[in-house]
């Protein structure tokens, strides 16, 4: 469990202690603070709620659901219970409790460990780590690969074929702008649990370059809005292609997270269909 804790600590701002950890984990030179800021501060926010909340925003019900897990175990939860560092440290703690042979409630803790891994880590973290390979610096790519390997090992004996976690089951798919309006559509596109996509700033810049469109500086929704305003058909087609690629990528994780990976694949293929339809409408 200590390895999980150590990997979690590396999702925090680098400090002098980081060097010791990277050396222990054989991850090479420690990251520069700028690598950290670039990845976790402006591309991939290390918070579960961003990927699981239907708003795609930090906090909210998704965070409260994780805090609720702590509360159910009668443990005081921190403010940011959905931060990756906190979640991995909590998982390590549960694993520690569960492996204490002298503790009569070890079985209870083991049950909690499995539930936390299945519902709260596996529901988003493999997807997050997959996306990380697109955007992270070499150090964080190595870190992500080790975390992926560790989590795979943790989940090796678990059954991922059962019911999906409730928050995935309940999440609505990508909003249809013809029914729910453009604003809701854009928001849902940027909410991974609804679209099956993770669109970071650099993805949108890539879209601009590939489509030869101007990329305005601003929040992602604003950038998307501006791309759609310039050329709705091409932008929607580009998004549909992204969704299509993601549906294939998600399926590649099925050996690891089973029904969860299939959920994500279905989500992105549903998005692909809607986006393609919208693109065709726009072209007309």
């Amino acid at each position: 469990m200590e390895l999980i804790r150590a990997l979690g600590a590396l999702a925090e701002h680098p400090t002098t202690e980081t060097e010791r950890l990277t050396e222990l984990l054989e991850l090479g030179s420690p990251p520069e603070p700028t690598e950290f800021s670039d990845l976790f501060g402006s591309k991939l926010y290390p918070f579960a709620s961003v990927y699981l909340d239907p708003t795609g925003k930090l906090g909210g019900d998704a965070r409260d659901r994780i805090s609720g897990f702590w509360r159910a175990l009668a443990i005081d939860h921190p403010d940011e219970s959905d931060h990756l560092t906190v979640m991995l440290a909590f998982y390590a703690r549960l694993k520690e409790f569960a492996s204490d042979a002298a503790d009569p409630s070890a079985r209870h803790w083991e049950h909690a460990r499995v539930a936390f891994l299945l519902e709260h880590l596996s529901s988003w973290l493999p997807f997050f780590l997959d996306k990380l390979t697109d955007v992270a610096s070499p150090f964080y790519c190595r870190w992500g690969a080790l975390l992926t390997e560790t989590l795979t090992e943790e989940g090796r004996d678990l059954d991922f074929s059962g019911d999906l976690p409730l928050h995935l089951r309940e999440a609505a798919p990508l909003a249809d702008p013809r029914l729910e309006g453009g604003e809701t559509f854009l928001e849902s596109l940027l909410a991974p649990v609804r679209s099956g996509l993770i669109l970071v700033r650099t993805d949108l810049e890539r879209a601009g370059e590939e489509l030869d469109l101007g990329v305005r500086i601003g929040e992602r929704k604003y950038v998307l809005e501006s791309l759609l305003a310039q050329d709705p058909s091409s932008t929607l087609t580009w998004l549909a292609n992204e969704a299509d690629q993601w549906s294939h990528r998600h399926l590649k994780r099925a050996h690891w997270t089973g029904s969860i990976a299939r959920f994500w694949a279905e989500r992105s293929s549903g998005s692909q269909k809607l986006l393609a339809e919208l693109a065709a409408d726009a072209a007309r």
Partner: protein
Amino acid sequence: MSIKDLNKRVSAARADTESRGETFYPGPSRIHLAAFPPKERWDDWVELDSKAWPKRVEKRYMLVPTTCFNCESACGLLAYIDKDSGQVRKFEGNPEHPGSRGRNCAKGPATLNQVTDPDRILHPLRRAGGRGEGKWERVEWDEVLDDLASRIRTAMEENRHNEIMYHVGRPGEDGFTERMMAAWGCDAHNSHTNICSSGARAGYQFWCGIDRPSPDHARAKVIFLVSAHLETGHYFNPHAQRVMEAKKNGAKLIVLDTRLSNTASHADYWLAPQPGSEAAIHLAIANFLIENQLYNRDFVRRWWNWQEFLASEHPSLEPTFANFEKLLGSLYEDYTFEYAAQESGIDAKVLEEVAAVVATAGTRLATHSWRSAAAGNEGGWQVSRTLFLISALLGAVATPGGTYPNAWNKYVPRPIRLPRHPEHWNELTWPLEYPLAMNELSFLLPHLMREQQGHLEVYFSRVYNPVWTNPDGFSWMEMLTDEARVACHVALTPTWNETAFYADYVLPMGHSSERHDIHSYETHDGQWIALRQPVLRAARERQGQPVDDTRQVNPGEVWEENEFWLELSWRIDPDGSLGIRSFVESKSHPGQRLGIDEFYGYIFDNSVPGLPAAAAKEDLTPLAYMRRYGAFQITEDVGPIYESPVESTELEDLEEDSYGRVYTRAEAPIALNVVPTGTPANDPEGRRPVGVRIDGEVLRGFPTPSGKLEFYSSTLASWGWQEFALPTYIKSHVHPENLAADQKVLISTFRLPVHIHTRSANAKWLDEIAHSNPLWLHRQDAEELAVRTGDLVRVETAIGHFVVKAWVTEGIRPGVVACSHHMGRWRLRDPGQRQLTSTVDIQETDQQWSLRRTGGVRPYDSDDPDTKRIWWTDSGVHQNLTFPVHPDPVSGMHCWHQAVHIEKATPEDRYGDVSVDIEKSREVFKRWLEKTRSATTHSPDGTRRPQWLIRPVKPTKQAYKLPAKQ
């Protein structure tokens, strides 16, 4: 290596590290500040240029920290200096600042507006016509300095030291100019504090010898605020963020505020009392705690000066704590919830519920009172005193989540030199009638000048605007236009203001990014210092280009005050015969004037514990470290200093009085932190007070005469105010008993969260947000007056009236009206600040003064295209002109609340009209003077004032002696 082996390796490393008592994992707090530019990139920070869109043009910035100069919280700012233009592009928060922690209110980023204000004063100006006529000519700095130096030197040579006066608004620094005035040998310091916080200060100082509170909001269980603006004005940002932290942790917030302020809107309990009844509510809560024995008995036994109380007031009783408790049980028994309800108009059951919540706090009760009720009412100083009584009952004093005396959460580093004590006492600022006034009676100056036939050779108004801010502003205009009384008025100001119009010299001073100061504030239980600095100077120096005079980098000829005062002092005393030169002479280069780098370099090298080591870690000098990061945290979790045992080296040839005060012959160690506190007197043999004996142990205690918390103030008792020796309730001058049937109470002291008195009028973003001050009027009152929102009403005070628009609201207590004091700015003509001032015409006939608006705010051409986009015309109404002076006879605080009559405006009335009879204002001054108990008749020891009380500039002991009777 396999996952399993890696796991083992990390586990072993952790076990090994922790077995050595070291921490293996870094703490989790760092994630919270990830959004700020990492400090390692401050030399070359890249952002895309918004103006270049749709092209992707990178802008490179150097980030240089400074400290905000708007309110007194001293929040950290980070200036983004464009590397191409060399100018500041924007200001954001400084994440390295321990008080503000990277966050700012609206006033911080708006510093940019102040710096680039097209109406700002860029060159020294000299009056070219009659005073107040508005004609100016440019003048060289050298000429100004020589003229002022000559006037001041002559005054000193002719023993007219009291004709020099420095009148300061919020200083924004810790003691630089006070020390300069003392070095001149003049009792010249005149602060604005008696129109600001003296009332609250008095309550705190009589209790603990330190005149400000420092509530530890973040760790509190219950927060109790008495406030018209607290946490939404002054202290806004550092305190507001900690109040919200506490609320997130489940703390309860209680706010006493007659008006629904922003703070009140966040409260669990918003109590809107009749203005002036706050102390009665506090005493009812205290009575509840006492009656139900919910107070912290051991704390009271150890730390209250109950022995002195018994000996003085009940000498026949055996001095036991049991006897004191019996008395305590009856002292406040009349303050029932029913009585408090009758006084405040708040239901007794609600008050009882609030008292029960307070009782649950234990030592985690954070209380705060500043201005507001303490500044509004006669006897307002008892509001803070009775509030602190609740803290003192619960033992919530300097505990986590409790309230600290500010001096323990503030750090004022010892400077390169400390000045002498002036041999003079200035009765224009410290008149004999107010021996216990916490600060100078600055707002009485026009009256005292008249009464004492006073004359000022040089009067400096420094980033201060008494004509507009003080009550009775027409009397100020009268005084300042009289050249026989004020020979030379120098306005030191970054921007035009109403007072500067009546100056002989207007000297442009820097904003927060254009000046040096050190500033520390009580924001939580810790001590930090922050450096304000001219950011362009720091940027140049980072690039290896030394700057030796801040005017080289500031706009126009804008100077900074530090260099101005150093240079002026140098010129006043070129040969050293006045004893001033040595104070401003370089130590490293004798014969030369002290420079800025040496001044601050000395402080950071020698007077800030931990800073040299922190700097060395980064291979920086302490000065370079402060220039780079802007702030340094010295300590955290200071805790209850009063409980600290006194070191044995300080205990020598001890003497102890009958209440346990311990005096020593040992020399006091040199204090590196020279934060102001009370200075209790030595014993008759000259030993200094060093501590107080508690349960057999000599502990540090409080800087009060008794060394304990002074529930009983022998100072008040012996200086003629026996009836107020204990915390009690004084009925305000606006108590319903003192109001005519048709009068209401006007609350005039509340702030608009985005403005700061007259300092922020030149910030266009803030002006656009807030530019009017309608009269808050409860719906019931509006119906009685048949007034609707937007209608004009005439508000009559004791000396005149003003005409203002009504704003009908449920957010205020019926029978009370309120008008923010942040608005009503005006100018007679240009030049002047144009974004938030109306043009006015002022007339005077037979002591009848009137002001009428002739034009509103309007768009205008300037270097800034935004001035053409100004859409607002209003700038509010200048209500303060119609307020007579109300000096509290004890604290000296101007009691701002007004008894007013309100009626619909007459057809002749126009919006913004002001009319005042200043003969009446003199009558009011005299009526309030009659309430005083002068030092000449009440001093117990032949002095003008208790020497132990804090005084910004302390004259010699000889000067404290009462003058010989005429």
